[in-house]
Symmetry: C2
Subunit: 324 residues, 2 copies
């Protein structure tokens, strides 16, 4: 069975061969730019790894791997417009270079291309794959809309939040595994369990993201910690604090909502101090581990030899215990 590094290498080689040189250039150059920005390529590697684990042919799975990576990048292009994000992976975002109108079209085109990739799989179960992919696509949109709703709401609960990140982040990771398993013609129960494994590692992955945003070091692109705090994002850390914090802590946090722009470092320091006092970092790790244990439970039910499961669990651990 291939390791993460080997599959990443194989995927990267396949992606390099893809040329997005359609016309007009104003539409396709941004697609090339986006696909060459890099990133962890987690979704295609999860897809290839699941396919490999179930004895499938990873070359047969390559178009589907390209599909999930293209789809993920489409969502980033549109998300960056909505978030007004100037930088992604240390480089200018599509809308920031080519304008919002082109960025909308670039995303739309990438969505179409992602489904074209999936069709190229030419697998007997392509309809099932498409249905999975499209349901997941709607769920990502639903998750993003919920995330935007939460910005306005003042009664978001932790279960609401977990439901949102399930849709926005975890479903695509889980579907990547599911698609790989379908391509390898895994049996129904195994597909269901690998999907649930994916959902749970996706949740712990996003919780780690929230944690790194506060407690991480400056990342390799120079991104500073505290971005979520400055933008008043309702992360697990914030919601937990509002649940277990004392009245004074809640008041401090609430007084900062929409404020603190004149002294952002003070805002980050004050809120981080509350988090630390309440052990929010450890509580978040406990929550991550809770989902990770569920992930282990579901992979335990899959009818695969232990050494194949080990590679999937090892990747899940890398996703959870990463520094960046």
């Amino acid at each position: 069975m291939y390791t993460y590094e080997e599959l990443l290498e194989k995927f990267s080689l396949s992606l390099e061969k893809e040329k997005y040189s359609g016309k007009p250039a104003e539409l396709y150059e941004p697609i090339s730019y986006m696909m060459e920005l890099g990133g962890k390529r987690l979704r295609p590697v999860l897809l290839l790894m699941a396919c490999d684990a179930f004895g499938g042919n990873i070359e047969e799975a390559m178009p589907a791997a390209l599909a999930v990576e293209m789809f993920h990048n489409f969502t980033l292009v549109h998300d960056d417009i909505m978030d007004g994000a100037n930088l992604r992976r240390g480089k200018d975002t599509i809308w920031n270079i080519w304008g919002e109108d082109t960025a909308i079209l670039v995303g739309d085109t990438m969505f179409a291309m992602s489904i074209e990739y999936l069709l190229k799989t030419n697998h007997a179960r392509v309809n099932e794959m498409l249905a999975t992919f499209l349901k997941g696509a709607k769920e990502v949109c639903e998750g993003q809309q919920l995330d935007m709703n939460f910005e306005e709401a003042d009664n978001t609960t932790i279960p609401d939040y977990l439901g949102m990140i399930r849709l926005k982040t975890a479903v695509l990771l889980a579907n990547s595994l599911k698609l790989g398993a379908i391509i390898a013609n895994a049996k129904k129960e195994d597909i269901e369990n690998i999907f649930e494994f994916g959902i749970n590692i996706g949740l712990s992955f996003q919780l780690k993201d929230d944690l790194l945003d506060v407690y991480g070091s400056v990342n390799k692109f120079g991104k500073m910690p505290g971005g979520d705090i400055l933008s008043d994002k309702k992360t697990f850390l914030l919601l937990k604090t509002l649940t277990i914090g004392e009245e004074a802590d809640k008041k401090t946090i609430e007084s900062y909502i929409g404020e603190g722009k004149e002294d952002p470092e003070q805002k980050i320091m004050d809120i981080t101090a509350i988090y630390s006092k309440l052990n929010i970092d450890k509580i978040t790790v406990t929550e991550m581990e809770r989902h990770f244990e569920r992930a282990e439970y579901h992979i335990g039910l899959v009818s695969l030899p232990d050494d194949k499961k080990a590679e999937l669990i090892s990747l899940a651990q890398k996703m959870m215990y990463r520094d960046q």
Copy 2:
């Protein structure tokens, strides 16, 4: 064979039964709103009519008809953001009510749903249908990008323009006919000719749109003529004037580009006067008829009895000789 009116009635009944009541409501309510705004429903009717003409079952074609209508409406939602259009069919646009971010997501979700409809066809040739649909989706994006490019360019030619409206407008009309023909299992040459028929009626349809924007009466939603003139849109009428007009005409038009906001009625009057002096209206009708004749040529090659062709030609004539 069913008439346009009968097929419109059948499609409208099917559409009414569709409920877009997913969650969160902030995402799905705008989809209901958009799908209930009305419109000519040309694309689904063309699809059903082609299916009917080739002896197919129109109930079998209904999900594909819903797919092309949903897709068309997705493109309108995103186009309205790009155009900053406040009104569509006399009602507020999605971005105008729910904001740009939600409008982006609404469009993305509708795109996913349109492909789900196509999958529901469950036809033996669904892969061919999907490939047609996705190629067409990319072409619509390419056409929209070209349209935006032309806004900035000062050397757009009439062939450039025709190439743009082919992608932006004609391809989806042509693909609607093509999909209907595929569902009815029409033979390859017939599918190719019905597609070319669609391309050419699509071109004459868009040319009529350009013409109505200048010479039409106030439409039923209160939309005034002259919108394209005010927004300096490089329509066939404008490009033709720049080709055959005298130096003084060209100078007048060029002096108005980006100007005339303080007295929009004067701008419309002055430019319309130039069009009329140069007989641009008649020249546009001649161009429309040129494409209509090509459409007739292609439908002539289709192996269908004359009475079935007559219904398709009659619909094409309605599209070309409409008042609104």
